[in-house]
């Protein structure tokens, strides 16, 4: 159970950040449906998308409980304005070609594996339980996407070029994953949160190993973007939301 001095709003926001990451990335993967490179990959992308949606659902339900105002998973997932979505910018980036989708997944999964592993030791039992279940899932996501990145990097000249381009395109969005702020620090002090900054070394090692096997070059740390955690998004999120929220906005308050 959370600390006595912990404000529920703080925990609520922290859990929403996590939930939004998984929802928006799951939504992006859903866009691949019917358009994937092979039938096997069609199934794999759906599988990863389903895992992420499942994680998002557990997290939103928990956030609703913490908030205690009767909001359920759907209220939180569908009925907030854009500026209240707290996902990292990485996950809202467009699918691009398959290389972009795979690089985005490697970046995300290489972060989530140590994140959920550390979170299993959270003093918050609900988060610890979600972490234990999610860890197994993201381990598979990391394995699957890394294998693809190796294949693409070490495949043909075209696939090498496309994957190197994808790396350059997304590189600057990775650093936001490791950002800590007052809210995350407070949660860390309570023993609830993960010190995201401390996961950078493992992420680097994981990504470097994949890049080496893929004969790809690690991009320079010459730029970085953030803002998602405070709801300052790229222009992509609004278009995601116009589809995501369409039914709930058009027919408010109904059961489906």
């Amino acid at each position: 159970m959370p600390d006595a001095d912990l404000k529920p709003e703080t925990l609520f926001k922290y859990v929403l950040r996590l939930a939004d990451d998984q929802l928006i990335l799951g939504q992006r993967l859903g866009e691949w449906c019917g358009h994937a490179p092979t039938l096997e990959e069609e199934l794999a992308l759906a599988n990863i998308g389903l895992d992420l949606l499942g994680q998002a659902r557990s997290l939103y339900s928990y956030a609703g409980e913490i908030e205690g105002k009767g909001q359920g998973e759907d209220d939180l997932a569908f009925l907030r304005p854009e500026r209240e979505y707290l996902n990292a910018l990485l996950v809202e980036q467009p699918n691009g070609d398959f290389a972009v989708t795979i690089v985005r997944q490697v970046f995300h999964a290489a972060f989530m594996v140590p994140f959920w592993r550390t979170m299993t030791a959270s003093s918050d039992e609900t988060l610890a339980a979600i972490a234990a279940k999610s860890l197994k899932e993201v381990e598979y996501h990391l394995r699957h996407s890394s294998e693809w990145l190796i294949r693409l990097g070490d495949g043909t000249e075209e696939s090498h070029r496309r994957s190197q381009d994808a790396l350059e395109e997304l590189w600057g969005y990775a650093s936001e994953l490791f950002e800590m702020d007052a809210l995350a620090d407070e949660m860390l002090d309570c023993g609830i949160a993960v010190d995201a900054a401390a996961l950078k070394a493992e992420w680097d090692a994981t990504v470097n190993a994949v890049l080496e096997r893929a004969s790809l070059t690690r991009p320079m740390d010459s730029w970085s973007q953030s803002g998602g955690r405070s709801g300052r998004h790229s222009e992509h999120l609004g278009h995601i939301l116009s589809e995501l929220q369409y039914m709930q906005r058009t027919y408010p308050g109904l059961s489906w």
Partner: protein, 313 residues
Amino acid sequence: EEFLAAFQARIDAELKIEPNDPMPAGYRKTLVRQIAQHAHSEIVGMLPEGNWITRAPTLRRKAALLAKVQDEGGHGLYLYSAAETLGVSREELVGQLLSGKAKYSSIFNYPAITWADIGTIGWLVDGAAIMNQIPLCRCSFGPYARAMIRVCKEESFHQRQGYEIMLTLCKGSDEQKAMAQDALDRWWWPSLMMFGPHDADSTHSDQSMAWKIKRFTNDELRQKFIDATVPQAEFLGLTMPDPDLKWNEEKGGYDHGEIDWDEFWRVVKGDGICNRDRMKARRKAHDDNTWVREAALAYAEKTAARETAVAAE
């Protein structure tokens, strides 16, 4: 002659034919065509439902829909594998789909334009598919029969899920009820067409029946489907869009109105509202990702070469 008689005797004894067994060329050809068509239908069938994944109204429905579409992809996989046991590669079959040479179920050329269509597709389209497929679990060709057992189990789950969406809508607001009725109005006749032409007009039926690839005629299956579905519609409080539909005590089933076979053939021949969009989507997925498949192949070859080199050291 003698071989054909012996083959027929095996069929009549309800023995399964396996891939390496000798079989008449016509039997092989019929099966390849039918299994491939079935596989293609699963793949193309992902598109109308896939159209709603980004817009599903709740997270639970979104997850269920994504899982359903994933199952359909899985069915496609088993079925292509079953066809491959007959000596034709998946690439070749997919090539036939993309060139327009191979057919897929015409029902997927109708658009999924409202959320109620997702319910209706599960309820009616999967329902009709199950009617067609349950007898196929006893099909004389072993790999197809076994694939069908697995497919049917999942389809019937999808069918219940679709019906449950309809039930939710029908218990909902007036708008939701109207949405459900509208979807039924649009999908009912096309789903009856899924069973194919009337027996009198059906070309491949007799031989397929003899070979036990088919065990019921189109009209028999259609009748079973109608008889099963009408009470479900009644329970939902929906009206069937067929004024001639009525219970026939004598035959113990429903009589129905005339099916618009002109529309059926128009859509089969490529002139349904979505035929062009479906083929465009499949071709685009194939063409845009050629480089990915090439990369996977190149990598596999490199890896194999490296392993050989290591083994040779």
